[in-house]
């Protein structure tokens, strides 16, 4: 099981270590640093590294490495999932998962890690339960604590810990009972040079924010549940109901959580909301090239495409770029060679374009590779797959909750090859 955890920042300082069994020397991280050096790019550090006596399984989150040390055969996915859960918990508790936040709350961090894992076995990872055990820091509470001497550690057994619904704490009370659902869909796509779709799929999630008193039992139904054939559920969902009736029936955790995630892969269902016309060329034996891209709306279901950003990793030999946007603004970072064009929204009357010259290092050979364009966008009030919530019913409690559903479509990994 998980033996130890080291938190390492980008400059290679180990700023926190936690051991659940015997103490493992920091020097074990040298193997990690070695791999990091070899990988050059932080994102390319392999997640599983073997050392003579241990295995290091790491994740890279928010510019931090979470490096766990294991010694016996353990499912690596289990470790990786757990590490992400640790990062999520920090995010949840401190608002951000950063070195500063962790150092500022080191004792809470330590208490949390102690609660989350025992002898390498996960103990309590649900945020609802953790928050009952260890209160998240707030300015007010630390003032109060330091005056009254009270503590931020709960001294009753968290109610959820052993019930059949470990994700929900008991005795929840709200004056305003609300249940909100966000249907968020991301389009992952690869578009080739000619504009045809090589690959496209929709990664969707339904995130919920539930503030309901007592033990509400909810049923969420869809207009077109057939769309959902590849789904991952939060443990609270009753699988049998879904199998037989295609209804999501559950007793929700308190607060924010991800209810389901799903994938729509059949390509005719995936609409591509924008198109890009591009002409990027480098002349042979000259130190300049042309750059010209235009972006326009395609299958956008009559909604406005907004928040468009185009990012391009230009080839290494590019020195700088002299461009003129018809809309928005652009920046080019000559160090990382990343061009970012912040467009805003598309108005079909006048399509935004970015044109101009690319200056190359003199004498360098013409770049072989063509840069891919990475595109970000957002469409409000639309789930591009067509998924629609039909109704939400509540059982088990008497009050009438306030309900709401929001839809949004975004670009996920949306790449256009040139």
């Amino acid at each position: 099981m998980i033996h130890s955890l080291f938190l390492i920042n980008c400059s290679g300082d180990i700023f926190l270590e936690k051991h659940w069994k015997s103490v493992v020397s920091q020097s074990v991280c040298d193997y990690f640093f070695e791999a990091q050096e070899k990988a050059a790019d932080v994102e390319n550090v392999p997640p599983v590294i073997s050392t003579p006596h241990h295995y290091l399984i790491s994740i890279y989150r928010d510019k931090l490495f979470f490096v766990s040390v294991i010694q016996t055969e353990v499912p690596p996915l289990f470790v990786i999932e757990f590490l992400h859960r640790v990062a999520d918990t920090f995010q949840d508790y401190f608002g951000e998962c950063s070195e500063a936040a962790i150092k500022d709350n080191v004792v809470i961090v330590y208490e949390l890690l102690e609660e989350m894992l025992d002898n390498g076995f996960p103990l309590a990872t649900e945020s609802n339960i953790l928050k009952e055990l260890i209160k998240p820091p707030t300015i007010l509470r630390s003032v109060v604590n330091s005056i009254t001497g009270s503590s931020n550690v709960g001294d009753t057994l968290p109610t959820g810990q052993l019930s059949n619904i470990p994700w929900r704490r008991a005795g929840v009370k709200y004056t305003n009972n609300e249940a909100y659902f966000d249907v968020i869909e991301e389009i992952d796509a690869i578009i080739d040079k000619s504009g045809s779709t090589v690959f496209a799929e929709i990664q969707g999630v339904i995130d919920a924010c539930i503030k309901l008193s007592g033990m509400p039992d909810l049923s969420l139904s869809f207009m077109n549940p057939r769309l959902l054939d590849d789904v991952s559920f939060h443990p609270c969902i009753r699988f049998k109901r879904w199998e037989s009736e295609r209804v999501l029936s559950f007793i929700p955790p308190d607060g924010n959580f991800r209810l389901i995630s799903y994938r729509v892969s059949s390509q005719n269902l995936v609409a591509i909301p924008v198109y890009v016309k591009h002409n990027i060329s480098f002349k042979e034996n000259s130190s300049c090239g042309r750059f010209d891209i235009t972006i326009g709306p395609k299958q956008n279901m009559g909604k406005t495409v907004e928040g468009i950003t185009v990012t391009v990793h230009m080839p290494k030999v590019v020195l700088n770029m002299n461009l003129t946007p018809t809309q928005g603004s652009y920046t080019f970072d000559p160090v990382t060679k990343v061009l970012t064009w912040d467009i805003g929204k598309i108005t079909p009357q006048k399509l935004p374009s970015l044109k101009g010259l690319v200056n190359l290092q003199s004498g360098a050979p013409k770049p072989e590779e063509n840069p891919s364009l990475n595109i970000q966008f957002k469409i409000q009030q639309l789930a591009i797959s067509g998924l629609k919530v039909n109704r939400l019913d509540m059982y088990g409690e008497k009050y009438k909750p306030f309900k709401g559903v929001k839809y949004i479509t975004k670009a996920g990994k949306f790449q256009v090859r040139t």
Partner: protein, 956 residues
């Protein structure tokens, strides 16, 4: 004192007084002293603050162990937070202060009786983390109580505590009967308790392979399946992993388990999903393919696997490594999902490389167009490693999907036109393979390839190009010039290129003898006279002799038609694949090696059950051979011989099958394959992946190799005498035609402690032979003649003489490859002749090879697991008794015999003449002619040969 610290810390961190960073003031001298004072303060709040400072220092690795007594004094408190903090500190430092730690025992015992279950659980949890021997005894009573606590929260914590305690003192846990209590908890009413009990038992079982801790029966399976639905996601992982080790009694049970596991495929936690996939993949084996349920299940497996690929890159990587196994085992699951493996430009490199590998595995006629378009796209990317692999992938597609070969070749030509150096080189390497698969089909591209000759600077690409030139010399007008240009810097080239160049020029000479005589002379003398590389010299001499004695034969040999290379060269060998499928989701699946091959103190539960193996997994002195380096590029270490052979075929330019002297009958498959895998490679000069194409060696080496082969075949097929060690019938070692009329056949025997080489010398020449003498080259076990070769009278034509040459093992030692290779020189009045033969290892098994039982146990434990090798002995219809007595005749001694679940386990030992002990576990199942042999030895390289000896002895 205290007032001094305050201003100082606020001066360092003026704005963050509300946060914990104030605890991070630098360690100044005297800080420990100040903390001490604060810890002993009367005010609760001060105390707590002080403990927090201590903890903060601890987290960053500062040594605050000096404060131990002061911190422990704070333990008696009703403030839960303070208690927890003190416990944190205790866990960290108890080991370094064992005497002090005893002070804490009382508090633990008291806390275990506390009315608040949270405190009881906290106490039992903490005390298990205090790794001090002296203390553990005191903890047994409280632990026993907590295991039976009325509150499930306490029980589940106590279950984990048993695992902790086991890690510290396994014997104690057994003596106290905690394991049984833990087993009882599997039937607990609370699913969380069940999950933790399973987790704890699995961990204990890992260091305890003999135990039947996790022996499941249908009732307990039912309990687990019920708990599966109700416990936390982590508990589900433990339960699923445990279920995967269960063997359902029939297909109906398998199906009903599958039905109850399938809902886990929709879990949000990817580790749960993958563990469920493992259970399903394993139990599916038992289902009939005609079943409707079977195809339903197949369909259900694809979506969750694909979903894993939308997760974080680290998860993707592990998922991809597993999918790689799954598509090899059951390609039908993902055959329609090619597109999800298309690479995105900002995927991390480790994800890209894995995706590429799976793309090739899924490539078929139906999707090849798409795949090729993608690969071509990747070949223009930035990352060099990735581009190279993409180019190679195009070549693999050509070999795999015949219809696409032409398209692949033209794609490769396009890529060569880009003139990007590394792309060109990779392309040439794969085109060589394409030529091997489709000879005489794409020669039109040779001209284009030749244009790029100068830009090649990597040995592999140069060697490939030279191979092409040599192979198609008759169609390349200036082949001689091209090859000559390489010859100039001959000695600066790598061995790979040198060997290839030598072969290519010989080929050229045989094709165009008139113009190239000088060239071939030149290369032969470079290879034989100026080189100090034995491989190169050997090959040079072979060619030289071949050319000078019989050019026609040379032509037949060197220009022989080559076998086509196989389609998929990098498939994991099927039995390994099957084993790895059982390890889906584990580290083994990431490394594509069985866990016994790499995890220190790993589990052996699945494929062996042995005398108890206790002790901690951290044995400091055990030698370490775990793999290092980047996993993706690694070849599985344990490829069986067949895998080796296939792999080598692609790179090695092997000639036609060996046509040595007539082989005796009894074609025992295993023997032949093993010899080819182990023996041939080394005869051909260390053929690993980097090895150069070995030209046309086998036929040339006909004599020695044939001898070896015949020998082994004989061993496998002949009839043995049962007095003393088994003796194989004689085989021809040196045929008369190779030795000017002297034919030597022979075998090895061992009788009452003495080894001898039984020779049959036949004179097939017309003249009388005399003045015989024999000499051995240095060899692995120092075998040497103990007496001169005594042939009393001259040997007249057509006369045969039988001689028994006594051997000893005190000669000089040099490790040979294969280990049991023996090179022999025989002299007579006519000439000196050389041959080499492989001796069966059992002639080296000494009579006092029986180990003490205790000693056996200890030694077995002591030898690291990575030294263990496992083999199958097939088609052996004997029972355990007969096996045992048969082996005993050849000095393999049975030390103990156990009957486990109807199988007979024989524990055996043997000792080699040089003192190496080999420990064996032989599993014999009545009615099943296949035995499983596990060998453990400090020198693992002998295992293979010991196995062969077993095979030989048992089958004769």
């Amino acid at each position: 004192m205290m007032s001094k610290l305050r201003p100082q810390s606020s001066a360092t961190n003026p704005g963050t007084n509300m946060t914990d960073s104030k605890y991070f003031t630098t360690t100044k001298k005297g800080e420990i002293f100040e903390l001490k004072a604060e810890l002993n303060s009367d005010k609760k709040e001060k105390k707590k603050e002080a403990v927090k400072k201590v903890i903060a220092s601890m987290t960053v690795g500062k040594d605050v162990s000096a404060l131990f007594p002061d911190v422990v004094n704070c333990m008696q408190t009703d403030n839960l937070e303070l208690k927890k903090l003190v416990y944190l500190y205790l866990m960290n430092y108890a080991k370094s202060q064992p005497d002090m730690a005893i002070m804490a025992v009382n508090t633990f015992v008291k806390d275990c009786e506390d009315p608040n279950p949270l405190i009881r659980a906290l106490a039992v949890r903490t005390m298990g983390c205090i790794r001090v021997d002296k203390i553990t005894e005191y903890l047994c009573e409280p632990l026993r109580k907590c295991l039976k606590d009325e509150d499930p929260y306490v029980r589940k914590t106590a279950a984990v505590c048993v695992a902790k305690l086991h890690d510290i003192n396994a014997q104690l846990v057994e003596d106290q009967g905690f394991l049984d209590t833990l087993k009882d908890l599997i039937s607990d009413s609370n699913p969380m308790v069940v999950a933790n009990a399973v987790a704890a038992l699995s961990e204990i079982a890992e260091s305890h392979p003999s135990s039947n801790l996790l022996d499941l029966n249908p009732q307990s399976i039912n309990k687990l399946l019920t708990a599966l639905n109700e416990c936390t996601e982590w508990g589900q992982i433990f339960i699923l992993d445990c279920l995967a080790n269960y063997m359902p009694k029939d297909d109906r049970e398998a199906q009903s388990i599958c039905e109850r596991v399938t809902p886990r495929l929709s879990h949000a936690n990817s580790a749960v999903v993958l563990s469920a996939v493992k259970v399903l993949m394993k139990f599916m084996e038992m289902l009939s393919k005609d079943l409707d349920y079977y195809s339903t299940l197949l369909k259900k497996l694809a979506p969750p696997l694909v979903t894993l690929l939308s997760a974080e890159p680290e998860l993707q990587y592990v998922a991809l490594r597993n999918i790689n196994l799954i598509v090899q085992k059951r390609p039908e699951i993902l055959k329609h999902e090619m597109k999800v493996f298309f690479v995105k430009y900002n995927d991390p490199i480790y994800v890209k490389l894995e995706k590429l590998d799976i793309m090739i595995r899924l490539a078929s006629q139906a999707n090849i167009a798409q795949v090729l378009a993608e690969l071509k796209e990747y070949a223009t990317e930035v990352d060099v490693d990735f581009v190279r692999k993409a180019v190679r992938a195009i070549g693999r597609c050509a070999i795999k999907v015949e219809q696409s070969a032409e398209r692949c070749v033209s794609t490769l030509l396009d890529l060569i036109q880009t003139k990007v150096n590394y792309v060109v080189q990779e392309a040439i390497v794969v085109i060589k393979d394409i030529f091997r698969k489709y000879p005489n089909k794409y020669e039109s591209v040779i001209a284009t390839l030749c244009e790029n000759l100068d830009s090649l600077d990597e040995p592999e690409a140069r060697a490939a190009m030279i191979w092409i030139v040599g192979e198609y010399a008759e169609r390349i007008d200036n082949a001689d010039e091209l090859l000559e240009s390489f010859l100039e810097g001959f000695h600066d080239e790598s061995t790979q290129v040198q060997l290839q160049l030598l072969t290519a020029i010989v080929k050229l000479f045989l094709k165009k003898p008139t113009e190239t005589q000088e060239l071939v002379q030149q290369v032969l003398s470079l290879a034989t006279q100026d080189s100090d590389n034995p491989d190169l010299r050997d090959r040079g001499y072979i060619y030289w002799r071949l050319l000078s004695t019989d050019p026609v034969a040379a032509k037949e040999v060197v220009l022989a038609e080559k076998p086509l290379i196989s389609e998929e060269t990098d498939l994991i060998e099927p039995t390994l694949l099957d084993e790895l499928i059982c390890y889906i989701g584990t580290l083994a699946s990431v490394y594509h090696k069985p866990p016994s091959a790499f995890v220190e103190g790993s589990r052996g539960v699945v494929h062996k059950s042995l005398p108890p193996r206790t002790g901690s997994s951290e044995s400091a002195e055990s030698p370490e051979t775990a793999p290092t380096g980047a996993p993706p590029s690694e070849q599985p270490a344990v490829i069986p011989a067949q895998g080796d052979l296939l792999g080598d075929l692609l790179n090695l330019d092997l000639g036609p099958p060996v046509s040595g002297p007539p082989l005796t009958t009894a074609p025992v498959q295993m023997g032949a394959v093993d010899l080819l895998g182990g023996g041939l490679d080394s005869l051909m000069g260390g053929a690993n992946f980097a090895a150069p194409p070995a030209g046309t060696m086998p036929a040339n080496l006909g004599a020695p190799l044939g001898g070896g082969l015949g020998d082994l075949f004989d061993l496998a097929g002949g009839v043995g005498t049962l007095s003393g060690s088994y003796v194989a019938p004689k085989a021809v070692w040196l045929p008369a035609m190779k030795a000017k009329g002297l034919e030597i056949s022979g075998t090895f025997s061992r009788q009452v402690g003495s080894i001898s080489m039984d020779l049959l010398l036949t004179n097939k020449a017309l003249q009388v032979m005399s003045d015989f003498a024999i000499q051995f080259n240095r060899n692995s076990f120092g075998l040497a003649p103990a007496a001169p070769l005594q042939v009393h009278a001259p040997l007249s034509p057509n006369q045969t003489v039988e001689i028994s040459l006594p051997l000893n093992t005190v000669g000089s030692v040099m490790k040979m490859d294969p280990l049991n290779n023996l090179q022999v020189a025989v002299k007579n009045n006519i000439d000196v002749f050389y041959f080499s033969t492989l001796y069966p290892l059992h002639i080296l098994f000494v009579e006092d090879g029986k180990m003490e039982r205790q000693m056996f146990l200890a030694t077995w434990k002591d030898i690291p697991n990575e030294n263990e090798a496992q083999f199958q002995i097939k088609d052996c219809p004997l029972n355990a008794e007969a096996v045992s007595s048969k082996l005993q005749g050849s000095n393999i001694f049975t030390i103990a015999k156990r009957n486990v679940e109807g199988q007979d386990m024989l524990y055996q030992s043997l000792k080699l003449t040089n003192g190496i002990w080999v420990l064996a576990e032989l599993r014999v199942q009545p009615g099943n002619p296949t035995f499983t042999l596990s060998l453990k030895c400090r020198a693992p390289e002998v295992s293979q040969h010991v196995y062969q000896a077993y095979e030989t002895i048992l089958k004769n």
